[in-house]
């Protein structure tokens, strides 16, 4: 029972509760706020795994930029109140089944591979350092990095094309 464990346990409870809050709020703005909270706690998990770069990127990108857009759209459309019934009858059972499978798989993996997560211990240390991440991205994972960059570029051009003014139609 060390300090890390207590920290992890507290955070885990907060994470799960905020995720449940996100799911069960009737008000879409509250759901968005719970999700922001959830993203921030996940960022703290990254900090505990000594990956400050990823933690702060998580806050900047997810809790900051993306969720502001979510809130913006919710407020712009005035879509705060969600209906009581789901849109289609098969969605809820399907989601529950899939979630159950995921949880069972996770539990199975943790209990069978409990002693064999070799990568975890090695990657700690200064792995999360921005310098290390940059070096990895531009050496080992250069192809993947460039592919993602190309994908994002295509998405940006697509967004500009879709929102082009009347003059260019």
């Amino acid at each position: 029972m060390n300090a890390d464990f207590v920290l992890f346990g507290g955070l885990a409870i907060v994470t799960v509760l905020s995720a449940l809050g996100m799911l069960f709020s009737r008000n879409a703005v509250y759901s968005a706020l719970y999700l922001i909270f959830n993203f921030s706690t996940v960022a703290v998990f990254y900090l505990m795994l000594s990956a400050p770069f990823i933690a702060l990127a998580q806050i900047t990108v997810y809790a900051g930029a993306i969720m502001v857009l979510f809130l913006f759209v919710i407020m712009l459309l005035g879509a705060e109140q969600t209906g009581r019934t789901p849109p289609t009858w098969w969605m809820q059972p399907l989601a529950l089944t899939l979630a159950a499978i995921l949880i069972l798989e996770g539990i199975y993996l943790i209990f069978t591979h409990r002693t064999s997560f070799p990568a975890l211990q090695q990657t700690l240390g200064d792995f999360g350092d921005p310098l290390q991440i940059g070096e990895l991205m531009f050496s080992n994972y250069l192809l993947a990095f460039e592919a993602v960059a190309l994908l994002l570029l295509v998405a940006v051009i697509g967004a500009i094309f879709l929102s082009r003014g009347r003059k260019f139609r």
């Binding site: 703005v29 922001i36 806050i59 900047t60 930029a65 809130l71 913006f72 407020m75 350092d129 921005p130």
Partner: protein, 368 residues
């Protein structure tokens, strides 16, 4: 956990928060005095000599005002929103170094709350969080002017955050580090504003938009939106929004000084470390004066032009600036000669003039 270290952190954090709160109080007086001088008036001069007790009087007045909560407001978020606005403004300064390490009681104390190897990212993360307070205040008031103000401010902050983030890349590339104290140390010889004139300019304009200062104070444009997102707030809750705005002014000035104007560095800082905070303070006050000057001079720009300016001019300038900075550093590397770093200001200023000439019709009049 080392107790001495914990005490040191607590004392430093308290000192920073008290300095920011005191700075906020006297920044309001400073702004009113300077604005008055710009408009050939005298400004507040009744409370105490030269009006120096005016902030105290304002504070007492605000504390005793009645606090209203609109009947149809979302109460929890309505009360939380001012707090969510103030906290990021207070914590963003935690990674900014105020001076070199000093010797005190036999301990080496660095004049910085935390030395973070991802300090610049920390600033970006907090800046991206700080929009929520304003948006939520606008939404929870259940008032159409407040909601419009909140939505406007979120659109504005998202748009200008892009240019702001790209302006950060200049000093990062020149230092090849994300740590703010290393960025300051790298400016030992020369301030980065000389290598990055366009970057500093973009940074300055987008921070004005980020803290909702004139001429970008759209979220509270009083002719159109009465008071924008804080229309329904009164008493201390309003004071918290006011406080957040002025503390953010101080914080962004301090960050601008750190990134582009040598931070605490100046003549004789190595011999007398205590000069560091003094230089830092002087530079920050210079920037604050500049902000008040801009407010006294420029009218508020129209909302659609604000967005067009942010996306069409500032963003493209920032992208070009980041690319040309990288190119200049590559050139200096290739020729093994730091003189090539001076190609950065030449190229970026040429690019700046080109963009301004090319885009001249797209903001003022012309087709949108």
């Amino acid at each position: 956990m080392d107790w001495a270290l914990l005490t040191e952190w607590t004392i430093k954090s308290l000192a920073l928060i008290l300095a920011l709160l005191g700075g906020f109080a006297y920044l309001t007086l400073f702004e009113r005095k300077v604005l008055a001088r710009f408009q050939v008036r005298i400004g507040p001069n009744r409370a105490g000599p030269f009006g120096i007790l005016q902030p105290v009087a304002d504070g007492i007045k605000l504390i005793f005002k009645e606090e209203l909560i609109p009947a149809k407001a979302d109460k929890i978020i309505f009360i939380l929103a001012p707090i969510i606005t103030v906290v990021p403004a207070l914590v963003i300064m935690a990674v900014v170094p105020f001076g070199p390490a000093i010797q005190l009681f036999g301990r080496t104390i660095s004049l910085q709350i935390v030395e973070l190897n991802v300090g610049v990212l920390y600033i970006m993360a907090i800046a991206s969080i700080s929009v929520y307070g304003i948006v939520l205040a606008g939404w929870s008031s259940n008032n159409k002017y407040a909601t419009l103000g909140g939505i406007r401010s979120s659109a504005q902050m998202i748009s200008y955050e892009l240019a702001l983030g790209l302006a950060f890349t200049g000093p990062i590339l020149l230092t090849s580090s994300l740590s703010l104290s290393e960025i300051v140390e790298a400016q030992r010889g020369i301030w980065f504003v000389l290598y990055q004139p366009v970057g500093a300019f973009i940074f300055w304009i987008s921070t004005l938009a980020e803290v909702n200062r004139a001429p970008f104070d759209m979220p509270e444009a009083e002719q159109e939106l009465t008071a924008g997102y804080h229309t329904e707030y009164s008493g201390m809750k309003f004071a918290l929004f006011f406080m957040a705005e002025y503390i953010k002014m101080i914080a962004v000035s301090a960050i601008a000084v750190t990134l582009f104007f040598g931070g605490y560095r100046g003549p004789f800082v190595d011999q007398v470390p205590l000069l560091g905070p003094i230089y830092f303070l002087l530079k920050v006050v210079g920037f604050l004066f500049l902000m008040v000057w801009v407010r006294a001079t420029l009218p508020r720009i129209r909302y659609d032009r604000l967005m067009a300016f942010g996306w069409k001019i500032l963003f493209s300038l920032a992208l070009g600036n980041a690319m040309l900075t990288a190119l200049g550093i590559l050139l200096a590397d290739a020729f093994q000669n730091p003189i090539w770093l001076w190609s950065i200001p030449l190229m970026t200023i040429a690019f700046f003039l080109l963009v301004v000439y090319w885009m001249r019709g797209s903001i003022a009049g012309g087709n949108r």
